[in-house]
């Protein structure tokens, strides 16, 4: 691995938290993005992606922690930092009544493009975003896809070192998505890009590194390949077993399976018609199917199905971003208690009504 000093971090986020009153949107987030890299922020809706990006773009400051863009603190040196950032919010900030050219010229002047360079920059971003023939159109007459392109063009107009793109492909049709993705890939190198998405293939196709963020916290940070590999080590074997039927045999099978090496968890589940579906989670590369099959037979059961699946990046994502919530018995008891109370109250009310 290269020593830290040689790499140049374009984005440095250190222990950043953001609270809105009692609600914590982002908590203790720390990451770096190296020059020329494309980083994907991946997470379910409401995970804190937009908040993180807004802090980096200087829209609002963090409650705690520091963030630097190209070496400039986004709060203390906000003007310098903003000069180096191109930002595309989730909803492109466009003035409906302006023409595409007029809008991009306005963006150029407030983003500090020197007056003499405006025509050439305008030309360049329009070419890059496929807007050559659209300069004289009113923005309100553009389709969603073209608005997104204008949004990208305004983010690029001042040739920023850092590009912050919040869900750049949302609302586009498949062809446009492919175009935008290849545009973003072609920008890497000269620009450092951070983009957010909740679409997994997008991350695999465009990003060199991924941060999975959930409930305002970073839950994983790695390359898409490595994240996918996380799943490779884990496989799930589904078995459908049947027996002359006593619970004891199934229980002994469960304990036999659990005692095997590499087996992590065993979950038996009745599947009706007297059979049982047993899900076995296995860690490690070795294929355990033959061993499991033998174990089932030894336990005196019949084996109907045996299916092995490895975890995809999608499953890794789901595992990292969802916290299973099973109804606790206590909760159920409480709910039942409440129902009783309601029933009693209703009875009383009826009685009173009858008395009257």
């Amino acid at each position: 691995m290269e020593p830290r000093e040689q790499t140049t971090a374009m984005i440095e986020v250190e222990h950043v938290s953001k609270r809105f009153g009692d609600v914590t949107a982002v908590e203790d987030v720390t990451f770096r993005v190296e020059k020329g890299e494309i980083l994907g922020l991946l997470g379910p809706n409401g995970a804190g992606k937009t908040t993180t990006m807004r802090i980096l773009a200087g829209f609002f400051p963090a409650t705690e922690g520091t963030a630097r863009v190209a070496g400039f603190d986004v709060y203390d040196q906000s003007i310098e930092a903003k000069r180096r950032v191109g930002y595309l919010p989730e909803n492109p900030p466009l003035y409906q009544e302006m023409y595409v050219d007029g809008f991009l010229r306005f963006a150029a002047s407030i983003r500090g493009v020197p007056r003499t360079e405006v025509p050439s920059r305008l030309q360049y971003v329009k070419e890059r975003c496929g807007l050559q023939d659209w300069g004289h159109r009113l923005i309100k007459h553009l389709s969603k896809g073209f608005r997104q392109r204008v949004g990208l063009a305004q983010a690029l107009i001042h040739d920023p070192q850092v590009l912050i793109l919040d869900e750049p492909t949302v609302g586009l049709d498949p062809n446009q998505i492919i175009e935008v993705r290849s545009l973003i890939r072609s920008l890497a190198g000269d620009h450092t890009v951070i983009l957010s998405t909740h679409i997994l293939p997008e991350v695999e196709m465009t990003c060199q590194r991924v941060i999975i963020i959930n409930r305002g916290r970073i839950t994983a940070m790695d390359t898409p390949e490595n994240l996918g590999r996380r799943g490779e080590g884990v496989s799930r074997i589904d078995m459908l077993v049947g027996s002359p039927s006593n619970g004891e045999t199934l229980a002994s099978l469960t304990s036999m399976l659990e005692s095997l090496q590499q087996v992590e968890t065993v979950k038996p589940e009745a599947s009706g018609d007297g059979r049982h579906r047993v899900t076995v989670a296995v860690r490690g590369e070795r294929d355990l199917r033959p061993l499991l099959a033998r174990t089932v037979i030894e336990a005196g059961l019949d084996l109907y199905e045996l299916d092995r699946r490895t975890m995809s990046l999608e499953e890794v994502f789901v595992e990292l971003t969802t916290e299973e919530k099973k109804p606790e018995l206590a909760d159920l008891a409480e709910a039942a208690g409440q129902l009783d109370e309601v029933a009693e109250a209703m009875d009383e009310a009826t009685e009173k009504g009858a008395e009257q």
Binding site: F20, R54, A57, G58, F59, F60, P61, S78, I79, E80, K82, R83, V85, Y87, P89, N91, P93, L94, Y95, Q96, E97, M98, G102, F106, A107, S109, I110, R111, G112, R115, Q154
Partner: protein
């Protein structure tokens, strides 16, 4: 400077491309024209009466200055109604449409944004006030003896200062909400309150009354229509504007913190 100009040009374009500026100007010119006609008719009737009572009647009134004063009084009242319509959307619409995100993440300073927008509305105000002087110029040209020009100039200056103060206040209200109707109604309510403050407090000379008299935006306007430019009034309006713009800056900053 360039950021300021860019915001100014953008906002002017927004005001004049959307029908806001045209509708406001149309209503303003229509209403001032109609009322000028009424004022003129009243003046003519007055003069006819005076002619009839030439001997032993009241001392002849300076008709030209009477018309000028009534006209400027009218101008201020109409501004009270139309200015909230110009200012209400200035920040509220940027917030509603999300374009505030573009402005806040661009390397421009708050004061460039606020002054740019303020100047754009002031230009609309100027476009409103200057052509409506045509009426007074007619009065000036056809009066005999020729009346002094002073009250016309000082009156316009006063109307512009009064308008500017109201605009600054309107921008502040607009910066607090993303609903421009709310901004418009609230601005109108505040204008009206400041309007009635003076006359309501009557002739009493208590301290509270004097404060209220001082705060009434209309009291300071009166001298201008008489041809008097008192620095006290100029300072009042400039302070009012500065306060309005400062509050706008504070309100925008708080948006950055809370959102």
């Amino acid at each position: 400077m360039r950021n300021f100009l860019a915001i100014l040009a953008k906002d002017l374009r927004t005001l004049f491309i959307s029908p806001i500026a045209y509708v406001v100007l149309f209503v303003f010119f229509g209403v001032t024209g109609w009322f000028f006609f009424i004022i003129l008719q009243a003046a003519i009737t007055q003069m006819a009466l005076q002619g009839a009572n030439q001997f032993g009647g009241p001392v002849p009134v300076d008709m030209a200055s009477l018309i000028t004063r009534s006209y400027f009084g009218l101008l201020s009242t109409i501004m009270l109604f139309v200015l909230p319509m110009v200012t209400m959307g200035v920040f509220a619409e940027e917030k509603r449409r999300g374009t505030i995100e573009l402005l806040f993440t661009s390397p421009i300073r708050n004061w460039q944004l606020i002054l740019g927008k303020f100047s754009a509305v002031l230009l609309v105000l100027l476009v409103m006030l200057l052509p409506s002087l045509a009426y007074l110029i007619v009065v000036y040209l056809y009066s005999d003896p020729t009346p002094p020009l002073g009250p016309i100039f000082s009156g316009v200056a006063g109307a512009f200062l009064l308008g500017g103060a109201l605009v600054a206040l309107g921008l502040f209200v607009s910066s607090m909400t993303e609903n421009q109707i709310v901004a418009g109604v609230l601005t109108f309510g505040i204008f009206l309150t400041l309007w009635i403050l003076g006359p309501q407090s009557g002739g009493s000379t208590s301290t509270l009354n004097q404060v209220l008299q001082y705060l009434s935006v209309l009291n300071h306007y009166d001298d201008f229509t008489r041809g008097i430019v008192d620095s006290q009034h100029v300072v009042f309006y400039l302070t009012f504007m500065a306060l309005g713009l400062y509050l706008t800056a504070v309100s925008l900053d708080s948006v950055k913190w809370r959102q």
